[in-house]
């Protein structure tokens, strides 16, 4: 992987009437990387993908493909290919004919077409299925035909629009690994759209988290997970406890804030947040430790606890009524706790993060499952 940008999204805004589907998206996708656009439905990720493919045109801004402005270029003149949500295989054509479709459009010599189709069917492990019709294949096989049909054209980038959504869980997990393998094998840039955070974390080199048309954060899965840039990202990727806080001291790269119960917390400073500003303190359930008989950390009451095999999931409540979820591993020496018991919640110095407070997320926590 190099840092060369294959797809540049330059201040792109897309409006449908008064509705802003994509709001000033500005980022680049590098050659050979597995790039995911992640967000809830309606966040603008599919619209962004369709603009890269050429099915939609940006209302503002430009899209560059290998340096060239393609904002007004129709899809059939762009060297990108799409794997559609429901595959959109041509039902009247055989698997081979489906895969050959793009090459025939481009008037590639017949002998080359046959060779490349065979090669690509081998890559997706469907070498013996060329003569079948799509209806005679399973969902996973259809998925791989859709991949082969796109990849056989050696596109500058492959665009995947929730391609695993129609598969059952087991097959989806297999296909995730399969997709990674194929991507490594062909070395083509993959742009993957999904609403499934686990899928994005598993496969991506980098992820763009989108919400309500805006790109909230772009980073590696680790960065997104451990250093979320906003409350939305923290809540959307994995579980997060979000506690209201007020900024205290900012000292270079570190800052301290105070929780409603008076506990001082310390974390990396946030640009633009100074003493007295409202903030949100975020901490992942698995970064917390529970202790009894100390005065350290936040004190809370056990509301419920569930044994989940590798961990115990605690549902807790602070004195101010903020719900908190903590995951505790089996190695921690905890006395037997029951609902109603009081515990102290602690964490490592770099376990939590301070975030800018989002007005609409004024509620103290957001814990999606």
């Amino acid at each position: 992987m190099t840092d060369e940008t294959v797809i540049a999204i330059e201040h792109v805004t897309k409006r449908f009437g008064a509705f802003v589907a994509v709001d000033d998206a500005d980022f680049g996708i590098r050659r050979g990387e597995f790039f995911s656009m992640l967000g809830p439905s309606g966040c603008g990720k599919t619209t962004t993908l369709r603009m890269i493919a050429g099915f939609e045109q940006p209302s503002e801004g430009a899209i560059r493909l290998v340096g060239e402005d393609v904002s007004r270029v129709p899809p059939y003149k762009r060297n990108v290919n799409t794997v559609f949500q429901q595959y959109a295989l041509f039902p009247h054509l055989s698997v081979s004919a489906n895969v050959a479709f793009g090459l025939q459009s481009k008037k590639v010599p017949k002998a080359d077409i046959a060779r490349r189709v065979d090669e690509m069917l081998a890559v997706v492990r469907l070498a013996d299925f060329g003569a079948r019709k799509p209806a005679q294949l399973s969902g996973g096989q259809q998925q791989r035909v859709a991949l082969a049909r796109a990849l056989v054209n050696y596109p500058s980038a492959l665009l995947l629009d929730e391609p695993l959504g129609a598969l059952d869980l087991k097959l989806r997990q297999t296909m995730q690994l399969e997709l990674k393998r194929i991507q490594r094998e062909v070395g083509i840039t993959f742009v993957f759209v999904t609403h499934d955070q686990e899928e994005a974390l598993t496969m991506s080199d980098r992820i763009a988290v989108m919400n309500e048309g805006r790109v909230e954060q772009i980073g590696t899965p680790e960065e997104i997970y451990h250093q979320p840039a906003s409350e939305f990202v923290a809540g959307f990727i994995g579980m997060a406890n979000l506690l209201p806080a007020t900024m205290e001291n900012v000292d270079g790269a570190r800052a301290t804030a105070v929780l409603p119960d008076g506990t001082a917390v310390s974390a990396a400073a946030v640009e633009g947040l100074t003493r007295g500003d409202p903030a949100t303190f975020m901490i992942r359930p698995e970064r917390m430790q529970l202790q009894v008989g100390t005065s350290e950390g936040i004190s809370a009451e056990v509301v419920d606890l569930v044994f989940q095999g590798p961990l115990i999931r605690f549902e807790l409540k602070t004195a101010q009524g903020c719900p908190i979820v903590a995951h505790v591993g089996p190695d921690e020496n905890l006395p037997l706790l029951r609902p109603g018991d009081r515990v102290q919640i602690t964490w490592d110095a770099d376990g939590g993060r301070l975030l800018r407070r989002h007005e609409q997320m004024a509620a103290s926590t957001a814990v999606p499952n």
Binding site: F55, P75, Y76, F84, Q86, F90, H92, G102, S105, A150
Partner: protein, 289 residues
Amino acid sequence: MIERDDQGRKRATIAPWLLQGPGIVFLIVFFFFPLYTLGRMALSARASRFSDPVFSWHWDNFSSAFSKYGDQFTRSFLYAAAATLLALVIAYPLAYVIAFRGGRFKNVLLGLVVVPFFTNFLIRTLAWKTILGDQGTVVSVLRGVGILGSSGTLLRTPLAVIGGLTYNFLPFMVLPVYVALEKIDPRLVDAARDLYSDTWRAFRKVVFPLSLPGVFAGSLLVFIPAAGDFVNAYYLGNTNNSMIGNVVQNQFLVQVDYPVAAALSFVFMAIVMVIVIAYARVLGTEDLV
């Protein structure tokens, strides 16, 4: 438990018969039996012009059907083929626009296609007689711009007959083609465009092949009744371009020569069947999803 299971199984074996029963009875009473009497009639002979036909393996009716009415047969199938082609040319773009661009007006537009046909078939055909009449506006305009000669006519020409057939059977083309096009997933067109096809190639390689079942059904629904029609040729044509329907009508109702009329009907059926099978082969309809 076991008993009930057995009963259930028995019911499962009778159910298909019960469901098919009415259809089978209908076919026997209203198709096979009439076909049988028609066949007997076609092989009957009349001793004189006024006596009743008597079954006598009289194959002459068939040979005279060919020898005397060959022209009318050829004309019928040529006119019907022309009308089918014209109907397809008119109906396809219409159905295409309704299916892909109709939006929420789809049903209204489809209704508009069908509404004129609430008027009686005969009245509509007679209306064309007036429209195409020698004194009518259409003819005088066409004469004025020189498309028709100063004494040129439209009525009583093959063109008028084919036009009438096309008009009268058009909805039978529009509806099946529309249904076939409507079923096509628009994402398939996106996929074709994504795979370097311009709109025209996407149409040729994806939309049109997938609409073939509709084209096939529509063609049959237009071609078969058009080939057997006598109303259009009767009102819009002249005696020199009458169709096989006119001959059958004349033999049955005017000459009262039932055996010849029956033989003509049989020959007509046989030819239609051959054409339909050949057509299905050409379109490869069996292969289509």
